[in-house]
Amino acid sequence: MDRATNTFPEGVRRDKTTDLNTDFEIRSQHSMCVNRSEIDKPILSNIKFLFAGILFGIILVKSEVISWFRIQEMFRLQSFHMYGIIGSAIAVGMISVFIIKKLRLKTIDGEPIQFDNKKFNKGQIYGGLLFGFGWAMTGACPGPLFALIGNGATVIIVTLFSAIIGTWVYGFLRDKLPH
């Protein structure tokens, strides 16, 4: 889309379009989760995401999503709990995205909300299976790793560090891996 046609509130500085295009392409590569905002705000304005994270972390702990036992039950079909959580979360997310698109809602800064369409590559299969193995072993996906450390399972710091190494090794080998 043509970024130059977007309108922004007055006094908000935009990035140089040329820089953004290439940088955005790299940032959004192999990532569902990206910052689509083109408004450059001071770093402390990110405090609101800290609060969103706190609420999300509390929910993760209280629903026992971060529990190794709950994940083992899920993979052994011994409990409905995790299926109920993931299923109802997707349902609420889907309805929300539908409403946002239908009503063309804007952010609190007045920016049009943008979504990215992702292309299929084999990494989603190979990487997905490998992550599945890791999920079964550690009982945690990346969100719960942070919540577990905060909750007092300090040895998970090692798991998080190892996950960072795993991500780095992926970046190092990326050109040689099938996609």
Binding site: N35, G132, A136, G143, G150, G166
Partner: protein
């Protein structure tokens, strides 16, 4: 039962699931951000050790919101431990409890089994596999797949992305296979 006692109980799926789903519109509305956590691991690589690898050569400060979000998750875990922790052991399905007892895992006081995940288990092969190799696969696999449970299963499926459906099915298939056929062999290790 007063409110604080009630909120300390584990929350049922129909409360927690919709609240997790609401994270999607909240992040979009407060800042045009697509929900996800695993990208943080990449931003940390980009910030600390890009080492001239093109995958890590981008302006990670543009994604610093994500690191604030992850920091919040950690703080949320801490606040829960301080004020809202369930004092009772985790209720585990009897079939799972029997299976785990066969491997000597009986302590359900914490959300993770204390016999498997503690600092001294890092000196055993079993602990190294679960804690270190498991973590490595979480980091390597999520980035190779382009997202984790948050990014693909929740954000991606909310946005009706076919690649996310494929990735989510593979997460589950990998987990099913590993938990049922490989993990028992690891848990049997006595070294």
């Amino acid at each position: 039962m007063n409110f604080i006692e009630w909120i300390k109980q584990p929350w049922p799926w129909y409360v927690a699931g919709p609240l997790i789903g609401l994270t999607v519109p909240v992040l979009l509305l407060i800042g045009n951000k697509s929900f996800g956590v695993s990208a943080n691991l990449r931003h940390i690589c980009a910030a600390c050790a890009p080492m001239n690898i093109s995958f890590f050569k981008y302006d990670w400060k543009k994604e610093i919101w994500n690191l604030f979000f992850a920091g919040g998750i950690l703080l949320g875990g801490l606040l829960t431990a301080l004020f809202l922790q369930n004092p009772d052991p985790v209720v585990v399905d009897p079939k799972l409890a029997t299976e785990l007892a066969g491997y000597g895992v009986t302590n359900t006081d914490g959300l993770v089994p204390k016999e498997l995940f503690n600092w001294s288990s890092l000196f055993s092969l079993k602990g190294l596999i679960l804690i270190v190799a498991g973590g490595f696969l979480v980091g390597f696999g999520t980035r190779y797949a382009g997202g984790c449970t948050s990014g693909h299963a929740i954000m991606g499926l909310s946005n009706l992305q076919l690649p996310s459906l494929i990735a989510t099915c593979c997460f589950m298939a990998g987990g099913f296979f590993f938990a049922n056929f490989v993990l028992p062999l690891i848990l049997k290790l006595n070294i």
